[in-house]
Subunit: 234 residues, 2 copies
DNA sequence: ACCTGAACACCGTTCAAGT
DNA sequence: ACCTGAACACCGTTCAAGT
C-alpha cells in the first residue's frame, strides 16, 4: 500500500497524538508530489484494485491531493500509463549480451513473464499504449544484441525475437483474460457438464483448462521455440 | 456502414420525396430493434472508429434510437462486447475434426488470425471479457478434437492448443499494440536515429520493426511450432 | 412491449483563482 | 510554483413516465 502522510492531516488525528507528533512533525513530513510518486501510487493502486478502477480522482485521493494537482507533474492519464509500463520494464533484469544465448534468453523471458504475472494490468496497458519507453527499448536492445551475437542474421534475429515476444505476450494474455468476468466459474462448470455433448473435447480437457498450472505450460512451449530457433541457427 | 432507416424519419426528408415514399412506406420500413441488429451495429462501429469510441449513446444514435432503448434488448455494454466476440468467432471456419492435423491446424489458425486482423478490437475485448461464448467454445472444441484425433494425449493436446493459441494471440497482440499511439512515427524514427548509440540493435533492426510484413512473420513462427509439436508426437 | 427524458454517480481535462 | 473549486463535455445505467 501507498504510504500517504499528507492525507493524515486531512483526517481525524491518530489514536495516540504524542507518538504522532514525535514521529512526524508536520512541516517536513509533507513530501512533495512528483512524477515518480504518482507512478508509484498508480502501480500500487492498479495491482490492488485493477487498472479499470484507476481514476485521476481516486489516485489523487490516494496521494492526499485533489485530482487536478496531478496535472502539474504528469501530462495526462495516458502519461501515467506510459510511466507504469516503463516502471515494469525497468524491473526486468537485462540479459547479458554475450552469454550463451539459449540459457540467457530463457532466463530473460521467464523473468519478464514474472513481472507480467505480478502486474496483471501490464499486458492490457501495453496493448493500448505500445511499448516505446526508454526501459522497454533498452530491454529490447539487449535481447536483440544477444540474439545477434549468437549468430542470427538481422532478419532471423527479428523473427526470433518477435516469436519469443509473441509467446510471452500470448501466455500473459491468456493468464490475464483468464476466466469469464461476470459469471462465476461455478456456473460455467455446471454449463460445461450440461453441454458435454455439444463440446465433448472442451469438457474432457476442462480440468487442464481450469487449474491451468501456468508456469509449466509456458516453459513447455518456450523449449519448443528455443529448440526450433536453435535448429534453424545451425 | 450500418443502414439505418429508422433514423431517416428524424432527419430532414430526402431530396426526392416521391422516390422516398415509393421505396419505403413508413409503416413497414421501421424494422424493429433487436439484439442481432445492435451487435451488428456495434461491430461495424468498432471496425470504423475503434472500440474505445463505442458508447451506448453513439450506438443508439447509429440505430436511430435513444441509448436507453438498447437496454430492452441487451443486458448492458459488456453484453454487447460478448456478442461482438461471439460474432467474430462464429465467422472463423471450423476445422475438419479428422483431417491431417498439421495442414488443418495451420489453416484454422491462419483463418482465425485473418479475423483478428480484420477486427483489431477483438484481441482487446477478448482480454477484458474472456472467451466463453458459444462460438468460441465450439471453435475450441473442434480444434481440441482435431489434435486429440491426431494422437496427442489429453495433456499434450492441451499443451499444443495453448501454445498455438498463445502464438496467435501474441501476434495479434503485437499487431494491435503496433506503434505508439500519441506520438507520431516520424518522431520515433528521428529519436531512434538520435539514440542509435543507446539502442544500437533496435536502431539497426528498425526497418524490420517498422514495415513488419506481418503475415510472413506469423507463418514463420507457426511452422516452427507445428514442427516442434509434430516431433514430440512421434 | 417498447421507447423516452430526466436523473444519478461517475469520468478526464481545462481554467481562472487562490497561496 | 504548486494546489484548488467550479465547470465542461462526456460516460453507463436506473427508473418513472409515456405510447
Amino acid at each position: 500500500m501507498v504510504i500517504c502522510i499528507h492525507r493524515k492531516f486531512r483526517n481525524p488525528p491518530l489514536p495516540n497524538p504524542l507518538t504522532y507528533d514525535a514521529v512526524m512533525p508536520p512541516t517536513e513530513t509533507r513530501l512533495p508530489l512528483n512524477r515518480e510518486r504518482i507512478i508509484d501510487a498508480a502501480v500500487t493502486y492498479a495491482d490492488d484494485n485493477g487498472v479499470e478502477e484507476l481514476s485521476m480522482r481516486k489516485l489523487g485521493a490516494e496521494l492526499g491531493v485533489e485530482a487536478m494537482s496531478l496535472y502539474n507533474h504528469v501530462k495526462n492519464k495516458d502519461d501515467i500509463f506510459d510511466g507504469m509500463i516503463d516502471r515494469v520494464f525497468a524491473s526486468v533484469p537485462l540479459p547479458a549480451i554475450d552469454a550463451e544465448w539459449t540459457t540467457a534468453i530463457r532466463e530473460t523471458v521467464l523473468k519478464a513473464m514474472d513481472q507480467f504475472t505480478a502486474h496483471p494490468w501490464m499486458v492490457n496497458l501495453l496493448m493500448q499504449r505500445g511499448n516505446y519507453g526508454n526501459s522497454s527499448l533498452l530491454f529490447m536492445d539487449r535481447a536483440l544484441g544477444l540474439l545477434r551475437n549468437a549468430g542470427f542474421s538481422d532478419e532471423d534475429t527479428h523473427h526470433a525475437w518477435q516469436m519469443l515476444a509473441s509467446h510471452t505476450m500470448g501466455y500473459a494474455f491468456q493468464m490475464v483474460s483468464g476466466g469469464p468476468k461476470d459469471k462465476d466459474w461455478e456456473g460455467i462448470e455446471g454449463q460445461l457438464a450440461d453441454l458435454a455433448e455439444d463440446y465433448p473435447n472442451v469438457a474432457r480437457l476442462a480440468p487442464y483448462l481450469g487449474d491451468c498450472e501456468f508456469a509449466g505450460e509456458f516453459a513447455f512451449g518456450l523449449e519448443i521455440i528455443i529448440d526450433g530457433l536453435n535448429a534453424r541457427l545451425h
